[in-house]
Amino acid sequence: MTAATANNVSLSWYEASARQRIDALVDAGSFSEFIGPELRETSPHLSIFDLPEQFDDGIVIGCGRVNGSSVLVAAQEGRFMGGAFGEVHGAKLTGLLRAACTLKQNVLILFDTGGVRLQEANAGELAIAEIMRAIVAARRAGISVIGLIGGRAGCYGGGSLIAGTCSRLIVSEQGRISVSGPEVIETNRGIEEFDSRDRALVWRTMGGKHRYLIGGADMFVDDEASAFRLAAIDALEFRRRWDLAVLKAEQKRLERRLQRFGDAEDAVDIWQVLGLNEPTNIPALPTDVFLRAAGNRENADDAR
């Protein structure tokens, strides 16, 4: 094994921990952590609620190399507090993005989050706003900020707004992206609006396949850490400064989406409009078949 190869063992991205994902993503032995668990920078707020803390507050950040090039990496741990953004958790990512701007290094964000941590909601909400501003500053400086989404907690709430600020998104089928979660919609609007226990509905409305088909994500991969790594290598090759032209193209793209699909009742209707063969069969397709079938998808063409 050379220094530029990662661990080649098969690993489900969905099942893996934040630390396992980083290990599988970066070149073997190249990761070094910032504000590691030994510093015990835990949340100062969870004890008010008598909740257990985690030494890294649910996010691992640091620097490493991917296929030989230096990157900054952040990985959320979706099993701790649902990967939610609190004060420390958020500030670690904010700091990393500000560093990216100074160091001119690309950033990989491994999302796995339910959104803002309610026990520190104001701090979490502000962290989201600070992170988005830092991403915009980095992208204006020509830095790529790439999001990888396929974890247990998905990418919900404020996390999904951060994802929408990234230059490129890599998703697996498991990578659900949505502002309001299924339970939140059901609680607020009733089961007629959204039945959160209807898992098939959740996946086809918010899941990675649908997001890829409407241009909400740029690359679709298997639930395999090695597939995420290859896609990240690919995504890092591409560099484009974010400016008014890109923003205008995104405006056009999102207007077009409303015109084309604004009246759709269900994802299947959208897939029908896209001209996919047997749209009801899309959720069942394995990755290679799905990617062939997705030829007519709405490609974001990096207008994000």
Binding site: G29, D50, P52, E53, E77
Partner: protein, 105 residues
């Protein structure tokens, strides 16, 4: 949260040279174990913060059994526990020692 603390003598030190290792996550029925090579070579300290109150006796038995079976000298072990069962705790402790003993790349 309940805090527990143990200081146990451990005649043989953990092997390897890694300064620290971490395993597990804090979730319901799960725990994280942080191991650092910062205790005296014949001592293993274990600090626990647990969400499940009133299980001091169980922790006492699990950590004593662990130190009796493993070479844990020199380790400072810190645990954040989300209410894991004793077998899960024993498993994570064993994984943690294995990890800190792994050769460095």
């Amino acid at each position: 949260m309940e805090k527990l603390s143990f200081r146990l003598s451990s005649p043989s030190s953990a092997s390897g040279t890694r300064p620290q290792a971490i395993v597990g996550v804090v979730a319901s029925g799960n725990l994280e174990v942080l191991l650092e090579r910062t205790s005296p070579p014949d001592v293993c300290t274990i600090e626990i913060a647990t969400a499940a109150h009133g299980f001091g006796m169980v922790w006492d038995a699990v950590v004593r059994d662990f130190v009796a079976r493993r070479s844990a000298g020199g380790l400072r072990i810190s645990i954040n526990d989300g209410g894991a069962r004793p077998d899960t705790v024993a498993l994570r402790l064993a994984q943690g020692v294995r990890k800190i003993e792994e050769p460095e790349r």
